[in-house]
């Protein structure tokens, strides 16, 4: 699909970014992304991918908004309590940008259905709130060789990295096991920050500009307001991705 005159006007300010241009925007228009989760991370991720003009966004979430979600899950309002997050996401994102295709599925992501759900997406966004599903998404990304943009949060701290199967460490290389289950604290601006970083990385990748968070784990510390990064490496014995090498 080529850019329409409306697209050129709508996305004018990002088209002006050096290296982006109409060519970059056209790539974004012809992209399909999979957003796993419409919660704290999924809300800002999906909003910024929608306003950025990603042509096809598929969001999957099994949950129903609750009052305790509303300090951070900005796609949903008090009127959505008791409805589905998928339905709420579709309604809000369609209002934000009706020029793109938005697909919202109320479904639990499992090892059995993840490959079908992810399908032929160009990027998978990890906006989950648990590690078992993250690992299922990670393995689907490896199976289909699709870039996987991971983020996770706790309190005022967040992490993010851009995973390219076969090139960078996968999620299981970085964290071979997940943490114990708990109800964790979250300030809304933490997933907001990390979700925006995920969306930034995705849009950069699709447009073909910039240096991605490959082989680097970005750590945001909102309490001290610092960003640091650590080098991450592939585990040659990784049970998930070592078969790719």
């Amino acid at each position: 699909m080529v850019l329409t005159e409306r697209d050129k006007l709508r996305y004018n300010r990002q088209i002006l970014i050096p290296g982006w241009g109409e060519e970059g925007q056209e790539k974004i228009k012809n992209s399909k992304v999979f957003v796993a989760g419409a919660g704290g991370l999924g809300s800002p991720v999906s909003i910024y991918l929608a306003v950025g003009g990603v042509g096809h966004i598929r969001i999957v979430d099994k949950d129903v908004p609750e009052l305790s979600n509303l300090n951070r899950q900005i796609l949903h309002t008090e009127d959505d309590i008791g409805r589905s997050k998928a339905h709420s996401a579709k309604e809000k994102l369609t209002k934000i940008n009706r020029d793109i295709k938005i697909e919202c599925i109320k479904e639990t992501i499992t090892e059995e259905n993840v490959l079908d759900l992810v399908e032929d997406s160009d990027v998978i966004l990890d906006c989950m709130d648990n590690f078992p599903t993250r690992y299922a998404l990670n393995r689907a990304a490896i199976e289909k060789k699709i870039p996987f943009v991971h983020a996770s949060i706790w309190g005022l701290e967040g992490r993010a990295t851009f995973i390219v199967p076969g090139e960078t460490p996968c999620l299981e290389c970085i964290f071979p096991t997940g943490p114990p289950k708990e109800v964790f604290p979250v300030l809304g601006t933490t997933p907001a920050t990390m979700g925006c970083i995920q969306a930034t990385e995705t849009l950069k990748y699709l447009a073909g500009i910039g240096r991605l968070l490959k082989n680097r784990l970005l750590i945001y510390d909102g309490e001290n307001m610092t960003f640091t990064e650590v080098k991450i490496r592939r585990n040659p014995k990784c049970p998930a991705c070592s078969k790719l090498y």
């Binding site: 989760g37 919660g39 704290g40 991370l41 999924g42 990890d126 906006c127 989950m128 709130d129 648990n130 590690f131 993250r134 983020a151 996770s152 949060i153 706790w154 309190g155 005022l156 701290e157 992490r159 970085i174 964290f175 071979p176 096991t177 997940g178 943490p179 289950k181 964790f184 979250v186 933490t190 997933p191 784990l217 750590i219 510390d221 309490e223 001290n224 640091t228 990064e229 650590v230 080098k231 991450i232 490496r233 585990n235």
Partner: protein, 90 residues
């Protein structure tokens, strides 16, 4: 002294202080020194056998200790240690 960045879930042990300065030698000794200064923190970092819990990573000057010498990795004065447990929030 090494500078240790304390992750959010463990800040309660250091009175919300991060980074903290700790005598070092090896990572194993650094953890024991952290425990001396901030009792209770070692149980969160290590299994009963002293091995670091599998969902926790230690980075020495930005490098994963698993690719250095693990618990025997030497720490010099001025080194930056970043403790990164997996967190699940989203």
């Amino acid at each position: 002294m090494a500078k240790v960045k304390i992750p959010a879930p463990l800040l309660k042990f250091t009175g919300n202080k991060s980074p903290v300065e700790v005598d070092s030698g090896t990572i194993k000794e650094l953890i024991d020194n952290l425990e001396k200064n901030y009792p209770g923190i070692k149980k969160r970092l290590c299994e009963d056998n002293g091995e670091i819990r599998k969902f926790i990573n230690f980075y020495v000057n930005g490098d994963d200790m698993r690719f250095l010498k693990g618990l025997d990795t030497a720490i010099k004065d001025g080194d930056d240690i970043t403790i990164v447990p997996a967190v699940a929030g989203g």
